[in-house]
């Protein structure tokens, strides 16, 4: 294997890893605060890409404006899903809201199938972002570079939000002890609504960068990244933001490196990913960065 080839594989791995990581941090944020595995996250992700699509096709918005609108709309969608499907179950056993999340996931998928249709739609790619950079024979998409920058920005922003703001303090208090936080006068509903808004906006941002890289969208497009992100979040320690990013990065790298070094086993990729998950859980049940 030549150096250029190895570097190209590394670049591919980094590109895929950051995309998975970006989806995973939204997943993990909601879990970290509300202790709810939001199985509908992948479908909120899907809805966001359709918002962008219709913004451009139906209302002929410029692409950047369509992106902004989609992020805003997705945040609203996340808040309403929380109000309808999770809030009434706040005091019920946790399994109830888990089931509700799965139901919401199916509802969104089938809603999208009925309203948007089951066929794939092409996602608009702005000229500026569809450039390819050639660095000494290694080719990287400009979108990938932007994805990495956005991921880092999202990480820094979340870090600031959670550790430096009053809202972040409330989120951490909720994550730590729900009832005590409520007794201390923290507005639980408002904090959770806020968490869902941020989580869903992150889903929208990751959907945009996913669709820019893989420009076809359809009602079930969120299933695959959703599960991948969930796995990434668990590997990294669910609830931990840097853990989710690391987990996503690891999964992306393994997916690429397996094909690169063991091409005959490429078809068994998922077996390797889930083997890693099992190993991590065996030796560190809380995940790489998780707290007991």
């Amino acid at each position: 294997m030549t150096w250029t080839l190895l570097l190209q594989h590394l670049a591919n791995g980094v590109a895929l890893g950051f995309v998975f990581g970006l989806v995973a941090i939204g997943y993990t944020l909601v879990y970290g605060v509300v202790k709810l595995v939001n199985f509908a996250h992948g479908d909120i992700f899907m809805m966001a890409s359709f918002f962008v699509y219709y913004g451009i096709v139906l209302f002929s918005f410029p692409w950047w404006f369509s992106f902004v609108c989609a992020i805003f709309l997705t945040a609203l969608l996340g808040i309403s899903i929380e109000k309808v499907a999770y809030k009434p179950l706040r005091d019920a056993p946790r399994i109830s809201s888990l089931c509700s999340a799965i139901g919401m996931s199916f509802l969104l998928e089938n809603f999208a199938t009925v309203v948007f249709g089951g066929r794939q739609k092409p996602f608009y790619q702005p000229q500026i972002l569809s450039k390819t950079l050639d660095i000494g024979g290694v080719r990287i998409q400009l979108v990938t570079v932007v994805t990495i920058l956005v991921s880092v920005a999202a990480l820094l922003f979340l870090n600031y939000l959670v550790y430096r703001t009053r809202m972040g303090l409330a989120m951490r208090a909720l994550a730590h002890d729900f009832d005590t936080a409520r007794l201390m006068g923290i507005n639980v509903d408002r904090t959770i609504t806020f968490t869902f808004a941020v989580g869903s906006s992150l889903a929208a941002i990751s959907a945009i960068f996913w669709a820019l890289r893989y420009p076809q969208i359809w009602p079930f497009m969120g299933v695959f990244p959703g599960w991948r992100a969930f796995t990434a979040a668990i590997i990294g320690g669910i609830g931990s933001i840097k853990g989710a990013m690391t987990g996503g990065f690891l999964i992306g790298m393994i997916s690429i490196m397996l094909v690169a070094f063991l091409p005959d086993l490429a078809g068994y990729r998922d077996a390797f990913i889930f083997m890693m998950l099992v190993l991590v859980l065996l030796f560190k049940p809380t995940g790489l960065f998780g707290e007991a």
Partner: protein, 372 residues
């Protein structure tokens, strides 16, 4: 007693008016959605033209198999047991047609496949038939084209390990390619991905490192094929891409854009290379109804429906067993995609068409006849 005769007539009419149900299972959603929907355009058109058989109306019942193997067998079971279908049409996608034909065969109801090309759809299943050619032929067609017309000496195959269609077609292509180049090492590598994947950069970087003349992509889903080629061009790859009949979908062009220009694939039908009088009639009525040119899948759906109706007519009854016998003896049935004769496995022996992507359209290149 004069009134007895009209009364008898009326009752017999009422009894006879009991509809004959033909069940259809096609992917309306999921990664194969476009294939299923294009097929249905042809089926609906045929149903519009022929609404009656044996003096009884035909009722068409469609169940979505969601491009899913489990859903496909459920769909066929539901069509037969709940809707009482006497014959089944479907499905696009060998991966879903194989479990579907298994169920139809077990329940003793004939199934006519429109476009599933994997041999296992009909093999060892006396109740399973199809109106299209099969992959041992399709794989050879593309290998022959690559070697003889494009002068290719080496190839790499990128296959979908989760799809029976893809693995099968990949296998037959490799076999034929090695034979035609008279070189056992002419296939430089075979690399796999899985249905649902969106990132193929690893597979492509691997393929590129082998530096082949052509890359064969027997993708089961047109969208994935388009993404593979798009990402290949982004990686700076210049090879010619070849594929199978699944590529023929508008989505392939929309998602692939400029990247898929100059890519060749084999398919079943082209409006410029028809062989039967019925084809012209079909193209005319299709354009009138939908305002566009028919796809190969629409033509196959049209043929499958008409063949089933023809078989019911020849059987003279709506009994599934009798329809199966009639289907098995199909000889020179005139369809839009050609004259259909079913062999002992229930497979049609037909020409393949090769098309190329040019200026964002599918353009006819040549027709390949099966050798005797």
């Amino acid at each position: 007693m004069k009134w007895v005769i009209p009364l008898l007539l009326v009752t017999s009419l009422v009894l006879a008016a009991e509809p004959i149900v033909i069940g259809v299972y096609e992917p309306m959603t999921g990664p194969y959605a476009a294939g299923g929907q294009m097929t249905m355009e042809g089926v609906y058109l045929a149903h519009e033209q022929v609404k009656e058989v044996l003096g009884r109306p035909i009722e068409l019942v469609l169940v979505d198999n969601k491009s899913d193997k489990v859903e496909a067998s459920n769909a066929v079971a539901r069509l037969i047991e709940y809707h009482k279908a006497v014959a089944i049409i479907g499905s696009y996608g060998s991966a879903v047609a194989i479990p579907g034909s298994e169920v139809a065969n077990k329940l003793g109801v004939p199934m006519v496949g429109c476009s599933p090309t994997n041999p296992l759809v009909t093999l060892g299943k006396p109740y399973a038939f199809r109106v299209c050619f099969i992959d041992p032929f399709q794989g050879t067609v593309m290998a022959q084209f690559a070697v003889e017309k494009l002068g290719a000496k080496t190839a790499v195959v990128i296959q979908d390990i989760a799809s029976d269609y893809s693995v099968g077609l990949s296998h037959y292509f490799q076999e034929a390619f090695k034979k035609l180049t008279k070189n056992n090492k002419s296939v430089l590598g075979v690399i796999s991905y899985q249905t649902g994947d969106q990132d193929f950069t690893a597979q492509l970087t691997f393929a590129n490192s082998k530096n082949p003349d052509v890359i064969f992509i027997p993708a089961a889903a047109y969208g994935e094929a388009a993404l593979i080629i798009k990402q290949a061009r982004e990686l700076g790859m210049k090879q010619v891409f070849l594929g199978g009949d699944t590529w023929e979908a508008p989505e392939f062009l929309q998602v692939g854009g400029k990247a898929v220009e100059g890519s060749y694939f084999s398919t079943h039908f082209d409006t410029e290379a028809t062989t039967t009088p019925r084809a012209a009639e079909f193209i005319k009525s299709f354009r009138a109804k939908y305002g566009k040119d028919p796809s190969a899948f629409a033509a196959l759906g049209y043929d499958a429906y008409l063949l089933v109706v023809d078989a019911i007519q020849r059987a003279g009854s709506a009994d599934p067993k009798a329809i199966k016998e009639a289907l098995a003896s199909t000889k020179n049935f005139e369809g839009a995609t050609g004259y259909i004769t079913l062999d002992q496995n229930g497979d049609a022996i037909k020409d393949a068409v090769i098309r190329v992507v040019k200026d964002g359209k599918f353009v006819y290149v040549t027709t390949v006849r099966p050798s005797e």
